[in-house]
């Protein structure tokens, strides 16, 4: 029983990475009806930017420029990296997606894929093939709750990602910009006639998605402090599948599916040999999609998409 609870905690943590990344895929899809195949690599870039910012702040603190506690450095790292990574997202939109908005949709998928390869290779070329380790910013205390060991890091990761998901939900539901996004997802041919610029909204969508990917990257770095240039591939493609599983363009769906994927992976590894993890996880996803072709919260194609 304690074993089960232990794994639930692990699955929540693992799933929150997927959920945060899946949100980026889902938002872009709902607005532009395009897959952003570079998103997994934006997650990787976000993690590296987070590493750079964190290392810089730690070095400044050590040099005595200012004295900041570890948690404050982490908060600053998250905020600064979100800001910086959103520019990466906007750049990707400008280069790979805006020139292709009227092209066949598959062409934009190819540019996304290629930008992803460029980001990976660029990273390899700049930083080399060695893995770098993320500085440990917060002390991890382990709590023993009835035989279940819970580290403060894990709680922090789950809470922070849930906070960001809730914030995004509120933003999309309440703010004027969120309304513009929902309108654009509703009909991106008519809404520009109402004076909403599709370029601005698309850029903003990419920026928000990338910022969330950066959060996921930093949290990943906190949990598993080893970064390598190809981490985006593994996570990105799975999160992409999760985004689809949640229903195209549905924020709730993407979050839920992300957590579900985390649960499936952790529990498959718990019961079966871990080499079977991908096989069983994807088979389950395939089965769900066979019976629910539009995902959890998606609507049929003839109907509108929702955000």
């Amino acid at each position: 029983m304690t074993f089960l609870f232990q794994n639930i905690i692990n699955a929540l943590q693992w799933g929150s990475f997927y959920a945060l990344i899946a949100l980026g895929y889902s938002m872009v899809y709902s607005i532009l009806m395009l897959f952003n195949f570079a998103h997994g690599d934006i997650f990787m870039v976000g993690a590296y930017i987070g590493f750079g910012v964190a290392a810089g702040l730690v070095a400044l603190t050590a040099a005595g420029a200012f004295a900041l506690p570890g948690w404050l450095i982490l908060v600053l790292t998250i905020l600064i990296s979100m800001f910086l990574t959103s520019f990466v997202g906007m750049l990707v939109e400008r280069i790979g997606y805006r020139p292709l908005r009227d092209a066949p949709r598959a062409s934009a998928a190819i540019t996304g894929l290629m930008i992803g390869i460029i980001l990976e290779t660029g990273n390899l070329a700049i930083l080399g093939a060695r893995r770098i380790s993320f500085p440990s910013l917060i002390e991890s205390t382990t709590y023993n709750v009835g035989g279940v060991f819970v580290t403060s890091k894990k709680i922090m990761i789950v809470v922070v990602s849930l906070l960001f998901m809730a914030a995004l939900h509120q933003f999309v539901k309440r703010s004027k910009w969120g309304m513009a996004m929902r309108a654009m997802a509703f009909d991106y041919l008519v809404v520009p006639l109402m004076g909403v610029s599709i370029n601005t909204i698309a850029r903003m969508t990419f920026a928000i998605g990338s910022a969330l990917a950066a959060v996921a990257g930093i949290l990943f770095g906190v949990a598993y402090p080893v970064l390598d240039p190809y981490m985006g591939i593994v996570f990105g493609w799975k999160a992409f599948v999760a985004a689809i599983l949640g229903g195209r363009g549905s924020i709730m769906g993407a979050c839920l599916a992300g957590f579900l994927l985390g649960f499936i992976e952790i529990f498959v590894a718990m019961i079966f040999p871990s080499t079977l993890r991908d096989f069983i996880a994807y088979s389950i996803i395939l089965l769900i999609l066979v019976f629910r072709p539009h995902g959890f919260f998606g609507e049929a194609y003839s109907a509108r998409l929702r955000l």
Binding site: F35, A103, I110, R277, F279, Y282
Partner: protein
């Protein structure tokens, strides 16, 4: 200023006239002669102009490795390939036109075979110079097959399939297990069951076996995914690709993640060339058939196609299985060329490669697939000395192509063999 522009147009027209009068037959006759020249004096010429050895890929590799040798490499290419080919083609233009005219009146199969024989002769002689050339050439032909079969699905059918590496893996493992099980003594499957002498003749059966397994896999995807429209296939096929890769990694009897080796050396250049030609021929006929036209109709407007009595679901499933079959055959060849397969080969990287070839060359066109497969595989070999930067240059090139020609370089063009081999005595009439 104006005069200069006038001059360039006149020059261009002259070149066009020069090229317009030479039939394909003359070019194909000139190519083996140039390669023969390389056989005879290539080494002497290479050392004469200061190159360490005969440049393997038209001097690209040498130029990138040691930029100082660029003039010598260019000179070599000019002297061995460019000038002799152009010269011989020009000299042979008149007799070749006469011969092509004669052949043109015979049943189409005769001139096609003559052209293919000349092409094969040139390629064989070219590949004879070094083993590296032979390997590159075979892998290029396999890439063309892969590209063409994916084009059937992504171009002619207009879906977005991500499972081609999966089909390739199924074909590769199917064909490998077939030939290793029956014709090779091996640790995994024990003694050979049949005499080894039969193996080379049964190799086509193995390839077809691999292809059939791949198309069975395609059927498994196609049944659920063609119930709805849209991007559904992209996701299901992506999941399928990961499932295949992961399943093979867990199957101990084919070697698991270590891979399967010990395939006999059946996939020599003539075999690969033959299979590739058959593949191009059959796929070209397929896309020009009623079924192929129905496929285009389904892509352009599924409802309208349905109204025109096209059974859309059946058409899509058939085409999908057809594409997967050829991917499986290409995979079988791939396994026998390298004589080793492991599941790691058939992942996202392979997917990106094949998709890039299809969209670079051009959707909905056999020419485009041939161009995409050949150019990208040769380019990735030629840029090898750049190491990492290769993977920045090639994606950048693709992004540019996508921005300026979103459907690829030669898209929506029919591959017309008759137009290709006709004699060029008269200026081409517009149809």
């Amino acid at each position: 200023m104006q005069e200069a522009a006038h001059k360039t147009t006149a020059f261009r027209r002259r070149i066009a006239d020069f090229l317009g009068k030479i039939p394909l037959l003359a070019w194909l006759a000139a190519a083996p002669l140039a390669v023969l020249l390389e056989h005879l004096i290539g080494y002497e010429l290479a050392t004469g102009v200061g190159l360490p050895k005969i440049p393997v890929l038209f001097g690209f590799v040498i130029m990138l490795k040691t930029p100082l040798l660029i003039p010598s490499a260019l000179l070599y290419v000019l002297l061995i390939y460019l000038i002799p080919v152009c010269l011989v083609a020009w000299v042979l233009a008149a007799p070749a036109n006469w011969l092509a005219g004669r052949l043109y009146r015979l049943p189409i199969i005769v001139p096609v075979l003559v052209h293919l024989a000349l092409l094969y002769l040139a390629l064989h002689l070219w590949a004879d110079i070094s083993a590296y050339r032979g390997l590159t050439l075979r892998l290029t032909l396999i890439a063309v097959m892969m590209t063409l079969s994916l084009n059937v699905i992504n171009g002619y059918m207009g879906e977005f399939s991500c499972s081609h590496p999966g089909f390739m893996a199924l074909g590769a493992y199917g064909a490998s297990v077939f030939s290793v099980f029956f014709f090779a003594s091996d640790k995994l499957f024990g003694e050979a069951l049949l005499p080894e002498i039969l193996g080379a003749f049964c190799f086509p059966i193995g390839l077809v076996f691999g292809g059939l397994i791949a198309s069975l896999g395609a059927l498994a995807i196609a049944i659920p995914s063609f119930r709805t429209r849209g991007d559904y296939l992209a996701i299901i096929s992506l999941a399928f690709m990961f499932i295949v890769k992961s399943a093979i990694e867990n199957l101990e009897f084919v070697g698991g993640p270590r891979g399967l080796s010990g395939q006999p050396n059946y996939a020599s250049l003539p075999v690969v060339f033959g299979v590739a030609v058959v593949c191009v021929w059959i796929i070209n006929n397929f896309v020009r058939s009623t079924l192929g036209k129905a496929l285009n109709a389904v892509r352009d407007d599924e409802t309208a196609a349905e109204a025109m009595t096209v059974n859309t679901r059946r058409t899509k499933i058939l085409a999908f299985m057809f594409g997967a079959f050829w991917a499986g055959v290409a995979g079988g060849l791939f396994a026998h060329v390298l004589r080793y397969v492991n599941p790691g080969t058939f992942g996202i990287q392979k997917l990106a490669e094949v998709l890039a070839m299809v969209y670079f060359g051009g959707l909905n066109s056999v020419y485009g697939s041939i161009l995409g497969g050949v150019s990208l595989s040769l380019l990735s070999e030629a840029l090898r000395p750049l190491e990492l930067f290769k993977w920045i240059i090639i994606p950048l090139l693709l992004i540019l192509v996508m921005i300026y020609r979103p459907t690829g370089l030669i898209a929506f063009k029919e591959f017309d063999v008759r137009a290709l081999i006709r004699p060029k005595t008269h200026p081409r009439k517009e149809v």
